[in-house]
Subunit: 195 residues, 2 copies
């Protein structure tokens, strides 16, 4: 079998997180045999996302504009800034409908062992954002994992040193879990009980 | 957040088998945040595989040529034809190094409940291929699952009716399992003991 472009596809699919050689192989087979339209769709969606998606200049989340819709929304309370790890976590908080402030998205968490330092999570940019004169409270809503807690600690110290009120989600959120997978009621409750 | 092309990407990634909304979301985040080169690689690999990969005119496996390298290999024994479900199964048989004949790849199995009939697995093409005058034995090596066994039964009847010797891999292969995941020794043994 001359399978160079098939091999290349299997190899490329392994770049997806959580996909090993067997699943990459199954994915390639499925797309080529049963869903070539899907294959083209994924290819186009990847090209266009890579080309068009940037980071919001204010909150760092993914957006196709200079500044994202949330940051531009005049209805949001500019005195509150919620710091979260990922856009998925932000979406989870948004779904509760109980937070009306703004966000800063770290796009990660401190993880010295993986070489993820303060620069990678935009710590300096967060400090600048939080000291814009409007923000009065920063809710540090990183995940309640070891790395999330360590990140929260470092950020809180830096924010407090800049005379900002810093709160953390209440421990209604189960320890060891990630916001993305927590039910809405728990997140809503933890927002009210923030400390 | 204006996330149209991000949403489109998440939606597109769900076309991959076994990928739900949460993993699609994680994949999109990972690629955009940490591996844009990987994203471009996958996109190009998909485009090129869809464009270049066809089915071998003789054995039906994936190839970039009219006829695949295995079918063109003069060293292979043209009197034996091994019928398997997928290219991954063929690769598993090849890795044993104990089969020197040719192949016919069904690219699936009969599955009436999913609407997969004889036409979808190229049954008529198999019968034509097997009656080329060179093939003397057809080894039906579909998986030992319910659908694989049913497929083997239907194919064997049709092949026997055409005066071909039909064998099946010995039951060294664990029942209920799929060839792709069986260790090489077991497959090699089952080839020798074919019945
Ligand atoms: Zn923003
Ligand atoms: Zn071939």
């Amino acid at each position: 079998m001359s399978r160079s472009s098939l091999d290349a596809l299997v190899e490329a699919l392994r770049r997806l997180p959580g996909v090993g050689p067997k699943s990459a192989s199954r994915m390639a087979f499925h797309l080529l045999q049963h869903d070539q339209e899907g294959a083209r769709l994924i290819a186009r969606a990847l090209e266009s996302a890579v080309q068009q998606v940037h980071h919001c200049r204010r909150c760092n989340t993914f957006t196709e504009n200079e500044i994202c819709e949330t940051c531009l929304d005049p209805q949001r309370d500019a005195s509150q800034l919620c710091v979260i790890e990922t856009p998925a976590d932000q979406a989870a908080v948004e779904r509760t409908g109980s937070y009306k402030g703004l966000y800063f998205v770290l796009m990660g968490r401190l993880s010295p062992l993986d070489g993820v330092g303060p620069r990678d999570i935009g710590m300096q940019r967060l400090f600048e954002r939080a000291t814009d004169g409007h923000v009065r409270e920063v809710i540090v809503a990183t995940n309640f994992t070891a790395e999330g807690e360590a990140t929260a600690h470092v950020l809180s110290e830096g924010l407090k040193a800049r005379d900002l009120k810093v709160t953390r989600l209440a421990r209604g959120v189960p320890v060891g879990s990630e916001l993305e997978y927590v039910d809405l009621g728990t997140i809503a409750h933890a927002l009210v009980d923030r400390r």
